[in-house]
Amino acid sequence: MMVWINQKSLELQQGCSLKDAIELAQITPPFAAAVNAQFVPKTLYDQTFLNDNDKIELIVPITGG
């Protein structure tokens, strides 16, 4: 199946979790995640199973006003 991480496509095996996808993305903490615009707490990454065409947002802290 194919999912999208921050608008970039990523091929994953069926049954992969959000935790699997994040490990492949090699993102440096701290960060937070959302799947299809719904926030997913980090305690649920391994219980959140992805579906084809899911859109994952991984966001990090930056400067702001």
Binding site: T28, F31, A32, A34, Q38, I59, P61, I62, T63, G65
Partner: protein
């Protein structure tokens, strides 16, 4: 008059400084750190963006935030719907480990005017989830009252559109707001000069939040200090009670006993 104990309360937490500072648009992280060190703000605002666009600068900023040890106020900048703001706030709470949220719900991309019609429902939703919401809003009295009605313990009206530096454009409405609302009022956005900050503090506003006026100054470090001093001066003036203005001149030196009076 201003004393060393002139503290203020936000959602039950005590703050000494009445300046909140943004962290964006500075020439370098080092200059931001020095500006913060001189200004000693009550809070620093921060934001969240996709990792793919900020993989390099995010770790630097994160380390800087941790070193400065000043409470962080995450924002929902760029959100255009209640759902976007809600999801962003949840993500901010996990990343920054704080319930504070500066609620930005943009209704117009050209003026960056808040979506005044949907702001109260967004604030209501966040407050019910335990967030300490500081809503970026306009100076509209009814809007601000609605925000208080849903549980906002402070509101943050703009003085002028974000980043314009024009200073308070609607003095009448801002002063009316101060007279009518008892909650802390924080001017957020549109200030360009320390005198602007001083003016709104003289009107009785509780604090100011600014970013661009400091970050884009030729010398951001000393401009931060100038704003911190202006906020203190305005607060002290408000507490001291200003004189009434008069239409006619009134000599300050006593006239009784003026020499050479009526010699001719």
């Amino acid at each position: 008059m201003l004393t060393s104990t002139d503290e203020w309360l936000l959602y039950g937490e005590t703050f000494k400084s009445r300046l909140l500072l943004g962290t964006s648009r500075y020439p370098s992280p080092d200059i931001l750190a020095k500006a913060v060190q001189l200004a000693q703000p009550a809070m620093l605002t921060a934001s969240l963006r996709r990792e793919s666009a900020h993989a390099q600068d995010s770790p630097v900023f994160w380390k800087l935030l941790q070193n400065m040890k000043i409470p962080v106020l995450p924002n929902t900048a760029g959100c255009h719907s209640v759902d976007e703001a809600y999801t962003t706030a949840q993500m901010a709470r996990e990343v920054f480990e704080t319930d504070w949220i500066k609620l930005e719900l943009i209704g117009d991309d050209y003026t960056l005017q808040p979506d005044t019609l949907n702001l109260p429902s967004a604030a209501d939703k966040l407050i019910k989830q335990g967030f300490k919401v500081l809503p970026y809003c306009t100076e509209d009295l009814v809007l601000c009252q609605r925000l208080v009605d849903v549980g906002c313990q402070a509101v943050m009206p703009w003085a002028a559109p974000i980043g314009t530096g024009k200073g308070p454009l609607n003095a009448y409405a801002m002063r009316t707001l101060r007279e009518r609302l008892d909650v802390p009022l924080i001017v957020d956005a549109g200030l360009g000069l320390p005198s602007h900050a001083c003016t709104v503090m003289e009107w009785g506003y509780d604090a100011v939040l600014l970013n661009t006026a400091v970050a884009l100054a030729n010398d951001p470090v000393h401009m931060a200090e100038a704003f911190a001093n202006a906020v203190k001066a305005g607060r002290s003036a408000f507490l001291s009670g200003a004189m009434q203005a008069h239409e006619s001149a009134q000599p300050s030196t006593p006239t009784l006993g003026t020499p050479f009076w009526h010699h001719a």
